[in-house]
């Protein structure tokens, strides 16, 4: 809590997304165990952590698709998990999300995919929809691909289309799930640049969830490191690299051994060898 106050004072800005004491479990396993986050308006915030820490889960919690065991998530002044369905849907119109897979509708072409949220939520005449769609596609450099089907796109293009769709309704916040994973260096560069530029040009607030440390750090104004259900470190990218925590150092520098051991927990190597047969 104190942390929030300081943040807010430092920048004279309020947090658009406030996560407090978030707990979430999948079966027996606690995915989040008391997470606090503040996402400032107008900034690109990064949430980094190894695979399987629950980064996607966190985005789904923010979008109200999952319900936390405990804790609150406030987005733009509204407590996401206390909203009625209708209010939640109206809040979601102010959020854009880019899924890791792109999640494009496979039976619609690129143009119709970007037009989809506009057509669903507005009664704009088709000529205006066309202007909006072409504008968004132009912003991500894919106006020429309007007629292609999702199956004809490369991975990087699919993500850019998903990006165009995420900003189709001019949202306040855009959530990016692993935007850089599995991209070649050029697409990676394009996506990095686009996230930053769209954020600044359209006055968005961006949340980038990723385990690609370098790329994410390059565009983030502020970053959180998640591990084992907790925020283990936070700060601007520059301060993070000076962090004293061993875990953060290992994660940020990609070292194979450290607090996260190279070896999966096992008995003594000697015992396994002596058994002769199969290891248990």
């Amino acid at each position: 809590m104190e942390n929030t106050m300081r943040e807010t004072d430092r920048n004279g800005q309020e947090a658009v997304v406030q996560v407090r004491g978030l707990c979430f479990a999948r079966g027996e396993r606690m995915i989040f165990d008391g997470v606090d986050l503040d996402i400032e308006r107008g900034k690109v915030s990064a949430i980094m952590g190894p695979s399987g820490t629950g980064k996607t889960t966190l985005l789904k919690l923010i979008g109200g698709q999952l319900r936390p065991e405990a804790g609150t998530i406030v987005v733009d002044g509204e407590n996401v998990h206390e909203l009625a369905t209708r209010e939640l849907y109206s809040l979601r119109q102010r959020m854009g999300m880019m899924f890791q897979s792109g999640a494009l509708l496979t039976d619609l072409d690129v143009y119709a995919n970007v037009a989809f949220p506009i057509r669903e939520h507005t009664d704009l005449p088709e000529s205006l929809v066309r202007h909006l769609v072409l504008m968004k596609l132009q912003a991500v450099g894919l106006r020429g691909a309007a007629g292609l089907m999702p199956s004809e796109l490369s991975g990087g293009m699919a993500r850019r289309v998903a990006m165009a769709r995420a900003i189709a309704l001019d949202p306040m916040i855009v959530l990016y799930d692993e935007p850089f994973t599995g991209q070649d260096p050029i697409s990676m560069g394009i996506l990095v640049k686009l996230i930053r530029e769209l954020n600044d040009a359209l006055g968005l607030t961006s949340i980038v969830v990723s385990h690609d440390v370098q790329e994410t750090a390059a565009i983030a104004d502020y970053a959180y490191l998640l591990s084992d259900g907790k925020v283990v470190d936070q700060g601007t990218p520059e301060t993070l690299w000076k962090s004293a925590s061993d875990w953060s150092q290992q994660f940020l520098n990609g070292e194979p051994d450290g607090p996260v051991a190279f070896h999966y927990p096992a008995g003594r190597f000697r015992d396994d060898l002596m058994q002769g047969g199969r290891a248990r």
Partner: protein
Amino acid sequence: MILDPLQQLGRKGLAFFGRLGRAHLFLMQTLTGVPGLLLRPGLVIRQLYSVGVLTLLIILVSGLFVGMVLGLQGYNTLVDFGAEESLGVVVALSLVRELGPVVSALLFAGRAGSALTAEIGLMKATEQLSGMEMMAVDPMRRIVAPRFVAGFLSMPLLAAIFSIVGVYGGYFVGVGLLGIDDGAFWSQMQAKVDLSDDVYNGVIKSFVFGFVAVWIAVFEGYDTVPTSEGVSRATTRTVVHTALAVLGLDFVLTALMFGD
């Protein structure tokens, strides 16, 4: 050790009833999405095309063959009693009361039902449904409800087409090939097939089967384990469960309708 099979049984039972409960909640949610479709008939019409029209060909071909087989078999039996003029009645009654609704429901499950399950299941596995939710579009209303309505409406039509084509198949064999009197074939059929007893009951059956078949198909799709293996298993389950449900219900309905 003796507890293990028991525990397994209990777990399976719980899973089964849990699923059954989910299926009913799902149905309720689907039905609440139906009135909204009046404002967007285009969604249903597109699905009517893919669900109904694409099943049409297999229904036409199967109906024709089933009718022809009925014609042959019926003739062979009836001719022993010198009653081959009644072939029209036999063919028409078998089709209208039983084979039309049942066989077209089975074909529907194999052609349209499995396709619906695979489509919705793949949309789930590729996060398209999740993506829609995040775009503030309810997939129950946008994806499931139109498919449900389209399946429900097309099933009775398909069953009717099946029966009609079947009757002509029987006519072709009986009158065309085996030389039964043309007039007798039709006039006996007209006299003995009752509109309310036979035709209406057949139509009721086809509505019930359509409802169940499309319910199973969309539920299996929506409840899919979102992996490629999950989708393929759900598709198989749709066909198997629909077949069992249709045949079981057919017995119950027949007993209720023609039992006394």
